[in-house]
């Protein structure tokens, strides 16, 4: 069951509540609404109306980096009293969606900071405007490669402020002065170290991280023109090297950032490959140094080249004052602003001149990050860049597991990339679609008029009037705030393209989805395969939610039970703690080498399991997590339902000599049903659409086989070149499938959406 409801819609229009139902009910809800409105409508603090030009800057930095930004903007305001800079921190998880919603309606920032590789998507969505020409001085101060990364179709769309790339962190106590210039030197450490210390902590089965090794071997992920390049001899050699690193236990298995961090700061790794952000997570007393990535002797001594990301200040479309915005952005990127950001927020600044400042020149670690960034390879700004990582990573993991020979796995990755980034369907004339829509509307009108003519129908409507007064407000609120946004969203499914750059394609998206884009209907990524997984997922979860929730509620309902209150409170904990954190804890528990689940298995004489290497175990891990998250809800609903069963029924049954089992079957179960049925029905629907567990725990592993329909829809919307129309068509298909399933269930005799028992009229 989900606890955080991902993007669900709902409504405004408080006036709707005033038309509400019969007398006091209306007063009640209207009072709540109006009091609420009066109480809550405290307007956000507005800066005094002064003559200064406001420039709103959005960023998604964490606290430490934010300090640097604040110091720089404060200095700017001091030097430019005519400008008022307002910094707004937006959590990274909502950053892109907020920019996309706010900028088109002129509620967005004037300047915002984001990675260069998002610029293309922002340009597609019409969210940024050309930065304009930089002064000669500013151009000289910045790296040409960084400016090139922000130049799209020949126009500059932002000014580089910082650069981030992976570096080599070395624990000096463990390294003990040994030269670690080559990756092979680290491999050589293996025999000298105890088994619980790794030469290198590196999450190399992540395609983004692995690219560093691939680059050393002369390979690349994506060509400048957007062709997938993670195939061929260079890629194979890099993969062979990675396999060797794993087989010799130079690096740990199934590594993610959290494990790299934990191993390195716990003294269980001599070195680690990570970005500057790792430094924030290391304790002050750890004796470590930062160096550029090592060379690879097997690759003719070429150095590993991590992907570098250029953080840039971009001018938003509809910025209030373009000139003031440019001044702010240029100051942040310039020498003075950069020094302040580096000193106060430890930004690895892009400005060359800033590094001449004595405070930066003497900061050994910060300089090391800069050197590492300079040795990195700036990631391509191509639209398809993000679409590379999932197919590449799945190929990588497949060959690491030994499920396929290296060339076959790589070629498969290429096919998937090409399938997912294929050209959108050609534009079609909307005439036919409009005609069909018009026909439908007309048919609807005609049938309504026909019904309205029927005198018995009119009588029914008149008899219904009292009931309408009870439901009007709810109908209005749900109609405006839930249904209307969903209908608008569904409308996107008839369009294709990237971001806002959409064209009408009729039913082409639907046809592509339902025919698996011409591929194997039961193959990888086909909607039918994913549907089967989703059905299994829903069935497994709901069965376990209900079984666990109902049995615990029955136990807790025993009148003689002691410590009931304590049990009840402890058992709702999974519902109370935010699921993002607990889902990650579950993922950690299923780790092959370090997870608690395998530790328990070994304790009882079992063999450790690679949970995410096989469909069955990965699926089981997802289900375990989601059952844990969802059973408290079902338990609480059952507890409530149990209390409404009159106790004298049981007493009467006991007198009649009914056994506890008979009482359960003939009293408890039938009387639980009306209260439990809606929770089960809704729970099934929510589970069907519950994507964050799949996303956070198995992440679709192995090989995308544990994805469910809704997580596929999210991938199309966000990681495959923002094909929002395609994603919307996916959503509509999910909706239609659920509708059909509901009708089917209702027919079998579970009146889930059907009308309640009828009473006479009011």
């Amino acid at each position: 069951m989900r606890r955080v409801r991902p993007h669900r819609a709902a409504s405004s229009v408080p006036s709707g509540w005033r038309v509400a139902g019969p007398g006091t009910a209306a007063v009640l809800s209207a009072a709540v609404a109006l009091c609420g409105a009066a109480w809550l409508a405290a307007t956000p603090s507005v800066h005094g109306q002064d003559a200064r030009t406001p420039v709103v800057v959005w960023h998604s930095y964490g606290e430490s980096e934010e300090r640097g930004l604040s110091a720089a903007t404060a200095a700017f305001e001091q030097a430019n009293p005519d400008v008022d800079v307002r910094l707004v921190a937006i959590p990274w998880g909502a950053y892109a969606s907020k920019l996309e919603a706010a900028i088109p309606v002129h509620r967005g920032p004037d300047v915002f900071i984001d990675a260069h590789n998002r610029a293309r998507a922002y340009l597609d969505a019409g969210l940024i405007q050309p930065f304009g020409a930089l002064s000669a001085e500013a151009t000289d101060d910045l790296e040409p490669a960084h400016l090139a990364a922000l130049t799209l179709d020949g126009t500059l769309y932002g000014v580089p402020v910082s650069v981030k790339a992976g570096a080599l962190f070395v624990n000096e106590d463990l390294a003990a002065g040994r030269p670690l210039r080559a990756l092979e030197d680290l491999e050589g450490l293996r025999s000298t170290l105890p088994s619980d210390v790794f030469p290198l902590a590196w999450d190399a089965d992540d395609a983004y991280q692995f690219a560093a090794l691939l680059h050393a071997y002369g390979g690349e992920m994506l060509s400048l023109e957007g062709t997938y390049r993670f195939v061929g001899r260079e890629a194979e050699r890099a993969c062979e090297h990675l396999l060797r690193l794993l087989q010799t236990r130079t690096i740990p298995e199934e590594t993610g950032y959290e494990l790299v961090r934990d191993l390195f700061r716990g003294g269980h790794a001599v070195a680690a490959v990570s970005g500057p952000w790792l430094a924030n997570d290391l304790p002050a007393d750890l004796n470590y140094s930062v160096r550029p990535l090592p060379v690879v002797r097997g690759a003719d001594g070429h150095a590993m080249e991590a992907y570098a990301t250029v953080e840039a200040a971009m001018i938003a479309a509809h910025a209030r004052s373009v000139s003031a915005s440019r001044r702010v952005a240029a100051f942040l990127a310039g020498r003075e602003g950069s020094v302040l950001r580096a000193v106060e927020g430890r930004h690895v600044v892009a400005s060359r001149g800033a590094w001449l400042d004595p405070r930066l020149a003497s900061d050994v670690r910060l300089r090391a990050f800069r050197e590492a960034a300079a040795a990195g390879r700036v990631m391509s700004s191509h639209r398809s860049m993000h679409a590379v990582f999932t197919p590449a990573e799945r190929a990588l993991r497949k060959l690491l597991r030994g499920d396929a020979p290296i060339p076959a796995a790589l070629t498969e990755g290429q096919h998937r990339f090409e399938d997912e980034t294929r050209e959108p369907p050609a534009a079609r004339s909307p005439v036919f679609g409009l005609l069909a829509l018009g026909m439908l509307l007309m048919l609807g009108c005609v049938s309504m008029v026909q019904r309205a003519r029927d005198p018995s129908f009119r009588r029914d409507v008149r008899a219904s009037m009292p009931a309408y007064r009870w439901v009007a407000h709810a109908a209005l609120a749900v109609g405006v705030l839930v249904i209307a946004p969903l209908v608008v969203g569904a409308g996107t499914s008839f369009f294709a393209g990237h971001g806002r750059d959409l064209h009408y394609v009729g039913l082409a998206n639907y046809i592509e989805i339902l025919t698996a884009r011409g591929g194997d209907l039961l193959g990888h990524g086909s909607v039918w395969t994913v549907l089967a997984v989703t059905l299994a997922w829903t069935a497994a979860n709901i069965t376990l939610h209900v079984a666990l929730g109902v049995s615990l509620a029955l136990l807790l309902h025993r009148p003689t039970l002691r410590m009931r209150g304590l049990y009840r409170v402890l058992l709702v904990l999974p519902w109370a703690v935010p699921s993002y954190v607990t889902a990650l804890a579950w993922r950690g528990m299923f780790h092959r080498q370090f997870g608690a689940v395998n530790a328990v298995l070994v304790l009882f004489g079992g063999e450790p399991i690679s949970w995410f290497a096989r469909w069955t175990t990965a699926f089981a891990a997802n289900v375990a997590t989601n059952v844990w998250l969802g059973f408290p809800f079902m338990m609480v609903v059952t507890l409530g339902a149990l209390t409404s069963i009159p106790r004298d029924l049981y007493e009467a049954a006991e007198v009649d000599g009914a056994s506890p089992a008979q009482q359960f079957r003939h009293i408890t179960l039938p009387l639980l049903r009306p209260s439990l049925a809606p929770a089960v029905a809704m729970g099934a629907v929510w589970t069907f659409n519950m994507f964050n567990v799949v996303y956070l725990v198995s992440a679709g592993e192995p090989d995308g086989s544990t994805e469910i329909l809704v997580s596929e829809a999210y991938r199309w919307a966000f990681t495959r070149g923002q094909q929002v129309g395609y994603a919307a068509a996916y959503a509509v298909i999910i909706f239609l499938m659920l509708m059909v399933a509901n009708r089917g269930l209702a027919r079998i005799g579970q009146p889930v959406g059907g009308p309640g028992p009828k009473a006479g009229s009011a």
């Binding site: 819609a9 408080p14 609420g36 716990g266 924030n280 439901v471 969203g489 058992l571 699921s579």
Partner: protein
């Protein structure tokens, strides 16, 4: 030992196993929250290598440059928004659920089906239309707007849940009151509502929770830091390149405490049930 004693012991054993299952992952989160910058130890039973409250004090002690206690302010925002969401959702859903349970009217069936249908549509695409709606109503960047969005999205479930509860109440209860001269509305308020208290409590808790942990819509609709709810603050610790998982874990633990307290307070409603209702008409 008598048979009932043995049974009692078995029940406790089962419950303790369940509690262990519920607590165990939370223990990992707590350990992360208590490890001040250092490593965590233990593979089966987690414990912090160097226990410290640094993450908690850092999260709770956040103060703005103007000396405003940010955590306190955002906690207050969260409580206000979630409580208002629960009240509003119940206010909208209760009369509608009652009508669906007691009246036969044209469109009832269609409305019920539509309500269920709203839950089936994954809301990937709805956040931008909603943003435009709130913008048009002048409710962007207000707590009112956020409450309205949360409350209406909780309404479909609330209606189903409450209709189920109303269906379980014998019709004779309010009919007796109406024979005694009460209007239907008076009978509804004084006889029926007290009888469905457990369902009201669950529905309120559900609506409260849906607002309490939500962050994407909150972060999208709110722009002023003094209106932010706690999940927005928390999610800033999970930035792309500047994450602080210790802070996040500490914040998650803190955020769950009010929910536990609320649930503890609500459980009386969950166990008292019918005994109090239905006698006042």
């Amino acid at each position: 030992m008598s048979r009932s004693r043995l049974q009692e012991a078995a029940v406790h054993l089962v419950l303790w196993v369940a509690v262990l299952f519920a607590l165990y992952p939370v223990m990992w989160v707590t350990t992360q929250a208590l490890s001040g910058g250092g490593a965590t130890e233990g593979r089966i039973i987690p414990w912090p290598a160097t226990p410290s409250l640094d993450h908690f004090t850092a999260v709770i002690g956040r103060v703005t440059d103007e000396g405003v206690w940010l955590f306190g302010l955002q906690l207050l925002n969260s409580v206000v928004v979630s409580a208002a969401t629960a009240l509003t959702a119940i206010g909208i859903a209760t009369p509608a659920a009652y009508a669906l349970s007691r009246f036969r009217f044209v469109g009832a069936e269609g409305a019920t089906r539509t309500l269920l249908a709203t839950q089936m549509f994954p809301g990937v695409a709805a956040s931008i239309p909603l943003y435009l709606l709130l913008d048009g109503a002048g409710l962007l960047d207000t707590r009112t707007g956020l409450v309205l969005v949360y409350a209406t999205s909780a309404v479909p479930f609330a209606i189903f849940q409450l209709r189920g509860a109303f269906d379980a109440i014998p019709r004779e209860l309010e009919e007796a009151a109406m024979v005694d001269g009460a209007t239907r509305f008076v009978a509804f308020v004084r006889v029926v509502l007290p009888a469905v208290r457990p369902a009201l409590a669950i529905t309120a808790l559900f609506a409260f929770m849906s607002a309490w942990n939500e962050f994407i819509l909150a972060a999208t609709f709110l722009t002023s830091e003094d209106l932010y709810t706690l999940p927005i603050l928390l999610n800033r610790y999970a930035s792309e390149h500047d994450s602080n998982f210790g802070h996040f874990a500490a914040g998650a633990i803190v955020v769950s405490v009010p929910v536990m307290l609320l649930f503890y307070a609500l459980q009386r409603q969950l166990v008292s049930g019918l005994t109090a209702g239905g006698v006042k008409g």
